[in-house]
């Protein structure tokens, strides 16, 4: 399996080609992806693009990380706890 490199909050992590961004983030130890309007931590929930809980910024655009495949050189921003 090919390895791709992405940057999360400036930190480089390895991911597997073809996998979804949310999976790569979880494996790299990022448990929290964003905060709700009330400030509570949120992460992957439905895993199929329905709930929008895993919404994060990739190269300046908002994406649902559970249905976004990783791509070499992606710049990812998550809101850590």
């Amino acid at each position: 399996m090919e390895t791709v490199h992405i940057r999360v909050n400036g930190r480089e992590i390895e991911a597997r080609e073809g996998e979804m961004l949310a999976a790569a983030l979880l494996r790299a130890g990022f448990k929290v992806f964003r905060k709700s309007p009330g400030g509570s931590p949120r992460s992957l929930f439905c895993g199929m693009g329905t709930c929008f809980e895993c919404l994060i910024k990739v190269d300046g655009s908002w994406v649902r990380s559970c249905i976004t495949p990783v791509r070499e050189g992606m710049e990812v921003e998550v809101e850590e706890d």
């Binding site: 999976a23 929290v32 309007p37 439905c46 895993g47 329905t50 919404l55």
Partner: protein, 440 residues
């Protein structure tokens, strides 16, 4: 900023959704010599059931074999657009136009006929703590494993209702995970009443496989009371009558059945109706799966019934869309699948009183942090119409546009004797960035 000019396309039949129902419809359209285009939101074909990934081709059941055969056929063709989101359906000069966002461009497609196969999403009975990172849907566990080969943690609890709990736990165990427990909400007796509907070979064999692998982990009559963060893990508290159970695990997977994705169909003018036996609000069709206006619906949108129902309905919808006669044997097979669907959704449902017992502190609308207490307060003040609840609490107003909370709200209101109307849907069907309409 400059407005982006959309590209125009015309197609004989447009199929929305590249899951098993959409694939089945497409195959029939191809066999009948019709021109078609399939638009799929995900970056892969096959939907949740097949989830295309190179090298992932389990062929343990007939339905899966058939499904993967369809998928491999589709992968060789050009009529399938992945990562393509349908934004809406409009009428201009009496002609229907479907707007699709694909690769930074907007396409306006004028289809002769349209087949809607948008599938379903999971449904949940919420409890305090269900928004915590580490609480995921049972579908998310399968999705992580099937598409990315990743486990949500080393050890987890599966809780909720329905055979999908077992299917997901089985996948997790096979991938090397530790199943700490599977907690079915309904009683053993109630679950057993489902057995006669499994007596058709394929489904029985699948059920037996899960029970042999995980039967000793399966407990009946238990419900998650609350979840709290504990160190790096989650403390899950479960309750059964006066009995209590507590465990610390890496993750908790929950699922209480499915709810059809009717949004696009509604936007196109198709009628929907509430049917507890079919999983909630479903697209209402005739026997030919037509809902008027040259639109047809197939698969989970017409009622939650699984992959085999989707295979059959895809064929029926395609034949009907082309004005061909549907063989009566096919209609009979659909009837059988509908009986299975009704049994499934009835036996493995959430007992009505549990919706009323959701504690006030529980978040119902995850996007806008609206709690059960907020909803109860609004209902008490007389705001029980959906529009009023939206205005007073912001429920359904967030990013997911009510996809997660509206089925919960529906069940809660119904348990309180109020029958809510279906949600009103406006384009875009799912949120998109403004950037796709203007050049930067």
């Amino acid at each position: 900023m400059k407005r982006i000019e959309p590209r125009h396309l015309q197609v004989q039949v447009l199929v929305v959704g590249g899951g098993i129902a959409g694939l089945s419809a497409a195959r029939t359209l191809a066999e009948e010599g019709s021109e078609f285009l399939v638009v799929e939101e995900y970056p892969f074909l096959g939907g949740q059931y097949l989830r295309n990934r190179e090298g992932y081709r389990p062929r343990d059941t007939r339905t899966r074999r058939r499904g993967f055969k369809l998928l491999d056929w589709a992968l060789e063709r050009d009529e399938f657009w992945t990562s393509s989101l349908v934004l809406g359906c409009y009428t201009e000069n009496g002609e229907r136009q479907v707007a699709v966002s694909r690769g930074g461009e907007v396409f306006l497609i004028r289809p002769g006929k349209m087949i809607i196969a948008t599938g379903a999403r999971e449904k949940f009975l919420p409890f305090p703590g269900w928004t915590l990172p580490g609480v995921v849907s049972v579908g998310a566990v399968q999705a992580l494993i099937k598409t990315s080969g990743t486990l949500p943690g080393r050890e987890g609890i599966f809780a909720g209702t329905g055979p999908f709990l077992l299917a997901s736990a089985h996948e997790f165990k096979k991938a090397g995970g530790r199943v700490a427990g599977i907690f079915e909400l309904n009683s053993r007796g109630r679950a057993m009443s489902f057995m006669p509907f499994l007596l058709d070979g394929e489904k029985l064999r699948e059920g037996m496989k899960y029970l042999l692998s995980l039967g000793n982990r399966l407990k009946f009559g238990w419900r998650v009371e609350r979840v709290e963060k504990k160190g790096d893990g989650l403390e899950v508290r479960l309750v059964k009558g006066r009995k209590r159970h507590r465990a610390v695990v890496d993750f908790l997977a929950i699922g209480h059945g499915f709810s059809p994705n009717t949004e696009l169909a509604q936007l196109c003018g198709c009628p929907v109706e509430y049917s507890a036996g079919l999983g909630g609000f479903v697209v209402k069709t005739g026997e030919d799966l037509g809902c008027g206006y040259g639109i047809y619906a197939c698969g989970e949108v017409t009622g939650i019934g699984g992959a085999r129902k989707s295979l059959i309905e895809g064929r029926i919808a395609a034949l009907s869309a082309l004005g061909k006669k549907v063989p009566s044997a096919l209609l009979k097979r659909r009837e059988r699948e509908l009986r299975f669907a009704r049994a499934l959704n009835t036996v493995f449902s959430v007992p009505s009183h549990l919706w009323k017992e959701i504690p006030d502190e529980t978040v119902i609308c995850r996007c806008e942090d609206v709690t059960m207490g907020d909803i109860k307060k609004a209902v008490k003040e007389g705001f029980y119409l959906l529009r009023e609840l939206k205005e007073t609490t912001r429920i359904t107003m967030g990013n997911c546009q009510g996809r997660t909370c509206f089925p919960i709200l529906t069940e809660y209101l119904r348990s309180s004797g109020i029958s809510p109307q279906p949600m009103s849907v406006r384009p875009p069907v799912k949120p998109v960035e403004m950037g796709i309409f203007v050049s930067r």
